[in-house]
């Protein structure tokens, strides 16, 4: 082949290669990398599936054996006799959680309103840092504090052992405070400034504006913060164990000791075998479904809020 022909041909091919190569490389990357992204996103899905699978598989046999209804409504928990009823723990979890919300949510909400509307800049900065720190403290420290400070205090005031729904609720109220506060703070902050100005321009006071326009406009976000707080309270373990007394009897007042679902799992898992161990996994399943349902509720409220905006 004569060089005079081959030369321009190769240079042309080279040119083409030069022009095409990076493009093709990029095209394949453009196709492949999103696949990697999707794969990563799917890992999360797979994780939830595998977690559900393993936890369910370890607990369902017992629920089948005992029967779902008698498992959920049984008032006696006596593993040595093979009796597994979690109604006291279910009640305990709900009682502790609801009391914690009743105690913690108003404070958190007030804190959020204070931070976004009334606090001078410096105070707000200090307070926010404190809230962050509060959120970062491991739950064991809270439990620790509950045992050493709270229980003796409750003993002094109410008598008895101090171990109670109330003790658990107070500790949890402090623990969920940062979550509820920061999420509702975000919700309040995203309320457009125009709403505030509109209300002020009508002669409303600052507080009337907050009450009449800002809080209603942020209500779905605030509600979501309650649900998040509730989820945290329901799921909290270590701090609660240390202060609620962990009895398996149905509580009759806020001053009675109780056991929560999480406590049931953690306390007995160390030494449980066979049916007993499965019963603890089954307790975990109940907790799991409960929290999933809560998440679902939160999701629905979010979806509703988006639609109304």
């Amino acid at each position: 082949m004569p060089a005079s022909i081959s030369h321009p041909a190769t240079s042309k091919a080279k040119l083409q290669a030069l022009r095409k190569k990076p493009v093709r490389k990029y095209l394949s990357l453009e196709m492949a990398v999103p696949g990697v992204f999707l794969l990563s996103a799917s890992i999360v899905m797979a994780a939830v599936a595998v977690i559900s699978l393993f936890v369910f598989r370890s607990g369902i046999p017992l629920i089948q054996k005992v029967g779902l209804v008698s498992f959920l409504t049984g008032r006696t928990w006596d593993p040595s006799a093979g009796i597994y009823g979690i109604l006291p723990m279910l009640t305990g979890s709900l009682l502790v959680t609801i009391t914690a919300l009743v105690l913690g949510v108003p404070v958190a909400l007030a804190g959020a309103v204070f931070l976004s509307e009334f606090a001078p800049i410096t105070v707000a900065v200090v307070l926010r840092r404190c809230i962050e720190l509060l959120a970062g403290i491991p739950s064991v420290v809270y439990g620790f504090f509950g045992v050493i400070v709270l229980l003796p205090l409750l003993r002094q005031i109410f008598g008895g052992s101090g171990f109670s729904v109330l003790a658990g609720a107070i500790v949890l109220a402090i623990m969920i405070l940062p979550t509820v506060l920061s999420v509702s703070l975000e919700a309040i902050k995203t309320v457009p400034q125009e709403y505030r100005e509109g209300s002020l321009a009508l002669g409303a006071t600052h507080w009337q504006t907050i009450k009449g326009v800002v809080l209603p406009a942020a209500r779905s976000g605030i509600f979501a913060s309650f649900i998040l707080g509730m989820g945290r309270a329901l799921g909290e373990t270590m701090a609660v164990i240390m202060v609620v007394g962990n009895t398996t009897r149905m509580p009759r007042s806020l001053l009675d000791p109780v056991r929560t679902l999480t406590a049931n799992v953690v306390i007995e898992m160390k030494y449980a075998t066979g049916d007993h161990q499965q019963a603890l996994f089954a307790t975990g399943i109940v907790l799991f479904l409960f929290i999933m349902a809560l998440n679902f509720a939160a999701r629905l409220t979010f979806a509703n809020s988006r639609r109304s905006k």
Partner: protein
């Protein structure tokens, strides 16, 4: 059993995968590699740690990991091969009897109250009635007029098992009794509440709580060993097979004079004479 049979074969496959993923392999015979994992009862953990420290001092090439997790976790781990030695503070269940067990020590269980509590001795009947929920005020036992805060361990705990067997007999611990899930938590509760009563490992008794004489006998290593103090339980090392190699060397050390001296120093009751 936590897992159905068919998963065990799957487990083999997955182990291979894990070996690939983790990039480092577990030697099938850990004895030669010089590493032992002891998993189990948190009551046994402190003495195991001291024993392991000493053993590692004597054999610098050996590595011993001591884990908590509870008796069941220990037994399960031995069954599944995740650990060489399981530590149990309760007697093995009949379904677990296929494992090999070595009693390394005895542990007395002391009934304790707040140091300011005037009561200093208690009968078996009284304890039983307190825990069964029939006696609820200290005045019924010659103490002040105050409600009793009875504290027990969680279901399945070795300490509770021994307590139920020896003290409670056929009676059940009432569901109104406060449950704490560790020796330390029971001790803290009793040390803080003047009206509390609890039971803990003799080795964990300190000046924060006051041990009661039980049926007229004070708990001590001597009385437990002599058999006059009746509330005690064994500390057990569980292995899958009769121990061999490094595991055997370690257990022999524990049962030998050095090991048993450590056992005694930790407040437990040796099972072999070491004089």
């Amino acid at each position: 059993m936590l897992f159905p049979r068919k998963f065990q074969s799957l487990a083999v496959v997955s182990t291979l995968c894990v070996l690939l993923v983790a990039g480092c392999s577990r030697n099938p015979s850990p004895a030669e590699q010089g590493s032992i994992t002891i998993v189990g009862s948190t009551s046994v953990q402190p003495v195991s740690e001291v024993l392991a420290e000493k053993f590692m001092q004597l054999h610098p090439g050996v590595r011993i990991n001591v884990q908590g997790g509870g008796s069941t976790a220990g037994i399960t781990s031995v069954q599944s091969g995740a650990a060489e030695i399981g530590a149990s503070s309760r007697e093995l269940k009949s379904s677990e009897k296929n494992l090999h067990e070595t009693v390394i020590a005895l542990d007395g269980i002391a009934v304790v109250v707040h140091p300011r509590n005037p009561v200093s001795s208690i009968s078996l009947g009284d304890i039983r009635r307190i825990y069964a929920g029939q006696v609820t005020n200290w005045s019924e036992l010659g103490g002040p007029d105050a409600q009793i805060t009875a504290v027990t361990r969680e279901a399945g705990s070795g300490t509770r098992g021994a307590f139920e067997e020896i003290v409670m007999g056929a009676d059940k611990i009432a569901d109104s009794v406060i449950v704490q899930d560790s020796t330390g938590a029971v001790r803290t509760t009793v040390s803080q509440d003047p009206n509390a009563i609890g039971y803990i490992s003799l080795a964990s008794v300190n000046q924060e709580v006051k041990p009661l004489a039980f049926e007229g006998v004070m708990p001590s290593p001597q009385t437990v060993r002599a058999g006059t103090y009746r509330v005690s339980r064994p500390f057990i090392y569980v292995t899958k097979e009769p121990p061999t190699g490094l595991v055997k060397a370690y257990i022999d050390f524990v049962l030998g004079p050095d090991g048993q001296r450590i056992v005694e120093a930790e407040g437990l009751i040796p099972v072999r004479s070491h004089e």
